[in-house]
Symmetry: D2
Subunit: 379 residues, 4 copies
């Protein structure tokens, strides 16, 4: 694979590299890690890459890799830049015939996202969006529970993603991670909404399906000088009459990555927390509470096939992330064999999910800007 972004000072690039390496099916062989060629060169050296495949720009990279013989060139590119570059880079590589893994949120705005849907559809290439939490075995199991219908109609959902990353004005100290996240030109119209909100939204719809029909969002900015939201509380309405709340923050003092999902349905409820991902709680009316543990023999095939180590040996963030890479590699492999999967059959978040996420962010910003009024999500 090749990588765009992820040079020194970046965070998520290293995560993608570990995730891709874990299962020993993917090798990083090319990259453009930074707009700064020196950073790209030194990152490439540290990663033992051929200097000739450490490129000064992503455009050059796409062109030169495309010019290599097929058995030597990269199969796909992994895009791990700030948000505003996702779209141009993805388009460029797709148009050069490469498959794409892209970090979230998919694009800078929904208009770009709609364009990207068309490009992906026309290209026939595989496109994956790294909503990495969907790779957890028990998230896959929860999805099966709802798909099977045995829990009945969803009545109430509570989704949270709480951090305290922005309690401190890191951007005033030049911290790279913070700088672009608080800049609308690089982050988009949503701050926390784009950074963690779209993960929370995606996780919910990954599990229960595209059920959210309308939202009412109230957002806050507390630190002086910040332009984007640091916190939001959002009411949700679901198809079929269910309701819920989605609450996110990057100023929730003391919280690290408190992403959690609680779904109360007619015949049962499930609870899952990202910080403790090896357990899924299952409640039913009038019965003992049950805790399902990752790796257990009673779990669905959807869970067991993405499980690497036995019950009681915790898997975490990187393993779930690696599962997306493994699933993506499988889809690319099927494509190479001439038997491409349909986009809707990908086991990982796809370009439509990415569009849905951008629509969520924009709708939330619209709702909040109008004083927290109801906005329908596109069907």
């Amino acid at each position: 694979m090749g990588m765009v972004g992820g040079g020194e000072g970046a965070f998520i690039g290293g995560v993608h590299r570990m995730a891709a390496a874990l299962d020993q099916q993917i090798e990083l062989v090319a990259g453009c890690f930074s707009r700064d060629p020196a950073n790209t060169a030194s990152t490439g050296r540290r990663l033992h890459l051929d200097p000739n495949r450490c490129y000064a720009s992503y455009e050059t990279m796409a062109a030169q890799e495309a010019a290599l013989p097929s058995e030597r060139r990269i199969d796909f590119v992994s895009i791990v830049t700030p948000n505003h570059l996702h779209f141009p880079i993805a388009r460029t590589f797709l148009e050069h015939g490469f498959h794409v893994v892209c970090d979230k949120p998919m694009t800078l705005d929904a208009a770009e996202a709609r364009q990207l849907v068309g490009i992906v559809e026309r290209s026939g290439q595989v496109f994956a969006l790294t909503h990495n939490y969907t790779g957890h075995p028990l998230v896959r199991h929860a999805r099966e529970l709802f798909r099977s219908g045995r829990l009945g109609q969803v009545r109430k959902v509570i989704v949270e993603y709480l951090q305290d990353f922005l309690v401190h004005p890191h951007e005033k100290e030049g911290q790279k991670q913070a700088l672009w996240r608080v800049d609308p030109a690089q982050s988009g119209a949503g701050g926390t909404l784009a950074d963690v909100g779209c993960h929370a939204f995606n996780l919910l719809e990954f599990v229960i399906g595209p059920e959210i029909t309308a939202i009412c969002a109230d957002k806050s900015t507390f630190l002086p000088g910040r332009k984007l939201d640091e916190d939001a509380n959002i009411l949700l309405r679901l198809q079929g009459g269910g309701k819920g709340v989605l609450t996110i923050s990057q100023v929730a003092t003391g919280e690290e990555n408190a992403l959690s999902l609680r779904i109360y349905a007619e015949h049962g409820a499930v609870k899952w927390s990202q910080e403790n991902p090896n357990y899924l709680e299952l409640f039913t009316y009038g019965q003992e509470r049950r805790t399902l543990t990752r790796g257990s023999s009673y779990l669905s095939r959807a869970a067991s096939q993405v499980t690497r180590v036995p019950p009681g040996h915790p898997e975490g963030y990187l393993e779930a992330f690696a599962t997306l890479y493994r699933d993506f590699a499988g889809a690319v492999h099927a494509h190479l064999l001439g038997k491409p999967l349909r986009i809707a059959d990908y086991p990982f978040p796809n370009v439509y999910d990415g569009l849905r996420g951008m629509e969520f962010i924009e709708s939330a910003v619209d709702s909040a800007s109008a004083g927290a009024t109801w906005v329908n999500l596109p069907a």
Copy 2:
């Protein structure tokens, strides 16, 4: 003390009796436990009461007790009936010169609550509202933390009270507890809002002060034939710019009494859960997470003076409830000594809190009925 309500088939009356008895300062000597004199008589027998002080109506009880010599008559009455009777009974006993403990919500609607405020103020009698969760030592400690100002401005609150009591249509099977709760004539305009929502609202304001300025409430009713809300999700806005969510349910499958409070402020956050009330989590930015345990020597006097047993020996629901009775007894004692406390100095929820709760319920119903729009709470 005397009691109105709490006959056979009732639940909360027995709780009030245990709470009053625990500290051996209060003795139940009279009652009108039911509209059914036979129930009152048999309840009185079971409680070893003098049959002459088991009254057929609360009006008779108020009149006859008032006619007894002061050293023999009850000092106060405890009202544990369905909601619609709280007001007339409280008014009657206050007008006969008795102090009053009243279960929540205070009245059937806000108009009654406003009337009651006037009656209490004019009477000079002590009036306590049993928002029992305020009796927990660590809730008292949390309140001190916010009163002291050391946690700074509140930025985000998340308050929950989730039950599954109404997942099943108990009222169709004639269950007394459910029957009146789903009947607007007895419960008021709010269902779950009145039953658990006002507890959640009160707990938040008990800890951070009367900070909530506006709400936007979305409510649901799922089971056919029900007229009142079974579930609600509410956005909150606070003085000073803080925001939050309050989410309640009685159809959250598998939940028992999941009342919890999370408050994120500038310099720290606190978390408390009713189901595990002996612990208070305190988070500060960039530091180890701290867990404060009930009974510990480092806690505030507000906490230690309502603590009965040492750390590690759990106190629970009844102990917190008993603390309200003990605090109330203290206020009555001060009154008897001719040194009445000011209402604002009561350590327990008072008639103003009760009015605030009724305004919350009505505002939430108004908001939800208008399609979940913003409604300001009276200042």
Copy 3:
């Protein structure tokens, strides 16, 4: 009831009084609260007792109460003194025809305990030992699970009771609670063994039956000047081949009252913790883990009949303690009706359990003194 011990400066006396009061069936009317008559008098005043029934010695109390007409005299006495006084007081009241509630450990040594067994048997009076943790509904339920045989043969037990009460040399500062506990003349041959060890031992045998056949105990004393054990680790062997460990401490820094029980049997395992007593974990091989919650409808009658409030409203230390008083009152009532229960049918710990506890303490001291060698418990 009457009480011996529990004057100012004492701890457990107040607990017994709250426990006895909670269910409104028992009234404290007489006492000898201290060897110091002034303390007894002031304690009596604080408790609103008749000064004539506040006695200067327990011998006088027994004699004078026995001389009262039966409808006026106490039915039973509650003994809440340091250990060395349990036996003489219990004997005296039993011989005067009173029923007895006695705190643990039952006596100063096993010889006294054996004597007391004879006295209780001959007297026909009801004798209860307040191993209060046996009053928890989920402990009662766990006992039913093992009695029913459905969990099969016990293979491994892990019982713990960890405190940090003695990390600090409170006795050097004259703290009354510590002073007698570190004095062999008042506490007996065991320190921590007598204070918390016998609770742990009793709880295990309450749940699985009198199954422990042999122990190997290693004990420690860390603080200079202390004569009694502050900590012990004990291997257990059970009838039928099961094994286990019982580990106790009063110098386990940071622990409060960490009494817990884990029992692994052929067909399932249970886990219970005193600090979080409203939950019982039930594990079975290859299945979801189950958590049983106090108050739930699926629990056994043994649990539900000692449950006061609904699921999710925590009960704690005092409620379990009160259950022993309620059960004891039931046994006394049966006795008064001329239908006494057989000792073996008491739902609370009896004089045989007390003897067993003393044998455990003495055997542990013997084992440890011999360098931690195996000692058989009397059958």
Copy 4:
């Protein structure tokens, strides 16, 4: 690297491969995955290895790899076979000049272990033993806390490793994992003692140093036909007077990999659990309980340098395992640069730790065979 063991049907080999791959510094290029050449060949194909470097025997592998030019041959071998093969394979590769990573327990018995110490010392090669739990950042931090002396003298330790792997007689169904574990010829004199006991022992001594001086072990075998221990309870005595228990099981119904460590010292206590490894609890007398979270800025350098992702994104079993490989690669790199570390300075378990583990297993077996009597560990 090369690998011996880890063919189809094996478990731990795949774990080692993921662990080695995660940080992209180590490449698997050769192997002898099974005694069955067909298994080795197919495993090699699955791993995209050069068929010429998939060897029929480990002896051939050692010899042929040693004959390759230094820039092409493997730097080290990873040994992931059943226990009885560890020693001959390690010796062979060490004698051919290769560094070695070896799974635990180090050898079949202590005599082999002592021999291996000599071989490693003479060879000068790097030898690592994969007691993988030592790779967790918070285990490294706990070790720093004790090394710094700030927690004072250790008074009590409680170490547990509970599984239920052997509740079912898998070996009767031919399950490969179970078959060799219950066979003394392949597993050694200890069953559960060797499989999980030595992990528990190592973890304790990794954190507090080689402090255990004597043990008293009671072991059990429940399932008919089994020759080795399935469960053991062990008393520990420590230098300086501390004491403790180590309890292990593979028949603890419902337990998965419940390895945990609790250490109570004079000035504080720490608690850590393998199943929830991102948290370390730190208790001090009379103060709030503290929870330290992996990745936090306040942790020691020993912890932060083995941390891959931010706080709140859980790391687990594979990450800790990978840390041993990364640390080992560092030691090999230092060796290649001609600046080898001293064995005592390795950040990972070394050959002396391996010997200590074998002495523990043998002493425990000796103790238990003598009826659970005290045995001194070699100093």
